[in-house]
Subunit: 456 residues, 2 copies
């Protein structure tokens, strides 16, 4: 038997889809200053839409950057309070020429909504709003207390979210967070997210002579900053890719046997993985599987390197400077600031004579995040997904970073359950981003079931 809220969603399907398309038409690109008014417009659109859904105290609130939208429905005394998180900003659209249809003129083709932000994250964040509407309109009530926090800076690493959360602890206080930003494993395979990695970055600049020198006249007698750079960078890993920064692994929580078993249960297709990446072989820390390496082990990655002559042919220069950008993916319980400090310290300790070495910590960073597998909300989410897909969800650790997860843990003391329905092939951040209509609809049912069960 179909629940009333489900019937409501079904009967209003066309309107609700048209509303999503309207939402997708706002080019709310947070990275581009020219689109700041559009990000603000998207915030207003969300505000109005939440109000229309019966959500209360809805308001657009300023931050140091793009605004956030807050709303609540708190008429379920004795029931848990759940905060729904998502974002209404999008990635830029370059290269525009590769889009089959204009990125902000969404079209529906073969069961998919094509448009920038469709899966990341407008389609996903719209789901809990309309589910709340369905519950309120049909039963007059929600099964629990609900708060909403949607931000407009997720695609630029949420720079103002930590301060906003820290300064609004009471407003945002809750028993758990549901993140409507994220995804599932596959069309027929659900997953619950146990962890996301953190990130921290360091910039490395090496200065040799104060101008480029003739490599004949001076070569052999003046230190080459590229040599120094290479020497420093090579000291950061051993031959199998393990990070050799002193103290780097000190705070890494070792995988338990059970956790390793959980990850091992996810089928891994090596040939497909190599096809997908174009790499000649797998590579990484000895003694760990691929999903352990990407989900449960930290990394130190040189993201960029440059110095000296990069043109055609030869130019026998002894260059003045050389540079590298480094970022580390972190796992529980590593601290981004502490790790950046360790990297900076090791760089300075490894710096050879003859050059000036500067290592700078980037301002942004994000803590790693891990939720206990027996977290009550997570268990409920697990059963919802299992019932809906008819299969046991995988227990996964994402290699990427969702900064908000760790922020909610740090400032509100609560865990976040990633509960969203994007799929990896939906071209997030790329041309022709899309969202499956089937995911959109399944997400609605999943959210309705989850809110009901969490309220029991």
């Amino acid at each position: 038997m179909m629940a009333d809220w489900e019937t409501y969603l079904k009967e209003n399907k066309k309107r609700l889809l048209n509303e999503l398309l309207e939402f997708l038409r706002i080019p709310s690109i947070s990275a581009l200053p020219a689109h700041a008014p559009d990000v603000h417009r998207a915030a207003r659109w969300v505000e109005n839409r939440m109000r229309a859904a019966g959500i209360e105290s809805v308001r657009v609130l300023p931050t140091g950057g793009h605004p956030v939208v807050y709303g609540e429905w708190l008429h379920a005394p004795g029931k848990p309070t759940v905060l729904v998180y998502g974002h209404f900003d999008t990635q830029p659209v370059d290269p525009l020429a590769l889009w089959d249809s204009p990125p902000f003129e969404p079209v529906i083709k073969e069961g998919r909504i094509y448009g920038r932000g469709s899966t990341d994250d407008k389609g996903n964040m719209f789901i809990p709003i309309i589910v709340a509407e369905a519950l309120v309109r049909t039963g007059g009530n929600l099964p629990l207390n609900l708060k909403f926090l949607f931000e407009g800076e997720e695609e630029i690493a949420s720079p103002h979210l930590p301060v906003f959360i820290a300064e609004n602890k009471d407003l945002l206080s809750c028993d758990m967070v549901l993140s409507a930003d994220g995804g599932q494993w596959g069309e027929d395979q659900p997953a619950v997210v146990l962890g996301t990695r953190g990130v921290t970055s360091v910039f490395l600049d090496v200065q040799g002579p104060d101008h480029d020198l003739h490599s004949g006249t001076y070569g052999g007698a003046i230190a080459n900053p590229i040599h120094a750079l290479v020497q420093i960078l090579n000291s950061l890993h051993d031959a199998d890719g393990k990070v050799t920064v002193k103290g780097f692994y000190d705070d890494v929580r070792p995988l338990t046997r059970e956790e390793r078993d959980q990850l091992a249960r996810i089928p891994f297709d090596e040939a497909a993985y190599l096809r997908e990446t174009g790499a000649v072989s797998l590579f990484g820390e000895t003694g760990f599987s691929t999903y352990e390496r990407t989900g449960a082990r930290p990394t130190l990655e040189i993201n960029g390197i440059w110095g000296g002559f990069q043109g055609e042919g030869t130019k026998t220069v002894l260059p003045s400077t050389a540079h590298a950008k480094i970022s580390c993916r972190l796992v529980a319980d590593q601290d981004p600031v502490k790790i950046a400090d360790l990297v900076v310290r090791q760089i300075h300790q490894t710096a050879p004579p003859g050059v000036r070495v500067k290592a700078t910590k980037a301002e942004s960073g994000a803590a790693p995040y891990l939720i206990p597998p027996d977290h009550k909300g997570l268990r409920v989410a697990y059963t919802v997904l299992k019932d809906l897909y008819g299969r046991d969800p995988y227990w996964v650790r994402m290699g990427g970073t969702i900064p908000a997860n760790a922020m909610f843990r740090e400032f509100l003391g609560v865990y976040t359950i990633v509960f969203a329905f994007g799929l990896n092939d939906e071209l997030q951040h790329s041309p022709n981003e899309f969202f499956r209509l089937s995911s959109y609809e399944r997400g609605q049912k999943a959210y309705g079931m989850l809110l009901e069960r969490l309220g029991k």
Copy 2:
């Protein structure tokens, strides 16, 4: 008492200077295809001027690139035959905005001729032509047999000179070469050049995944080509800058005690050297002085490196490719091809798993050059310089490369004596290049004395 040829040069001083200015007005930039007609025009100018000087069989001869100019005067039976070498092409002029006067509109200011090519090498190569004219016009004869070979591709590494010399061995056969391309140590300090370094180059390309990957999703499980690049490059030196390529030093001729003493006699001002380069300290192979390091020891220099993200801020990418350009300065008796092969072999041997590594030898290269210090012509040049400057010349080994030196040795079996009068501060290859009038005049006297003494 002034020799007749000296009186001739003095009496014709104004005309000879105006002719040099005329030569300098031809923008014979060999690197720029648009200036190919100008390089050809400069060849014709040299041809006509040599003919006017009384030099015989003068002709412009084609090569695979810009032409050369040949001439001879061979009426001194029983006397040595000397080949004079120089070049009539110039460097480009960028950045043009930094020139105080147009590069090809030479001006004389405070005893200096400003203009592109003034010291490198038109001013220097013009000297032996007018000295020959003075000798022929005043005595009717030269004191020895003279051949001239001027090329138009020195500034682009003389790519067609080896073939030209190899194919014209009889035409160019001689007892020694005088290079009118080079310089002296200082305004009051002469030098004889014992050696020039060779050069050979290798390009290194590392391919990881076939497209840039998300460093969160894949980091730790797929090899980062920058890490591999850094690991390979770091294997090429030890901590004090010694090259660790296997076999690299095998053919290096060790410095004798006498050679070390010769180099040690050149005063070295460390503070001035560091000011000149802007480096914080000297750096190089343990156990060698600065002039030994730059003159008598080979190097392996990374001239350029690049890969991944080089923009502002952070981009957490696991890049697809990483690259480096490497060149080695070589000393006797290293072979450019053999050394490049050793570097390529070591790169492949050091290549870590997980990436594709390609090492490519550059097509161009030049052999190192060393003249025995007791070479008869060199000894004569030494006494001329000593008498003219009133000081003992330094015995120097240049760190840079003059490819022609080794070519004449290889194909004609003769040594080259660098006999030229540029000074290091004359901004060769830079804006506001100039040549001292005093050097121009001293060079004339020096060439006259040298030819006379070599003919005795």
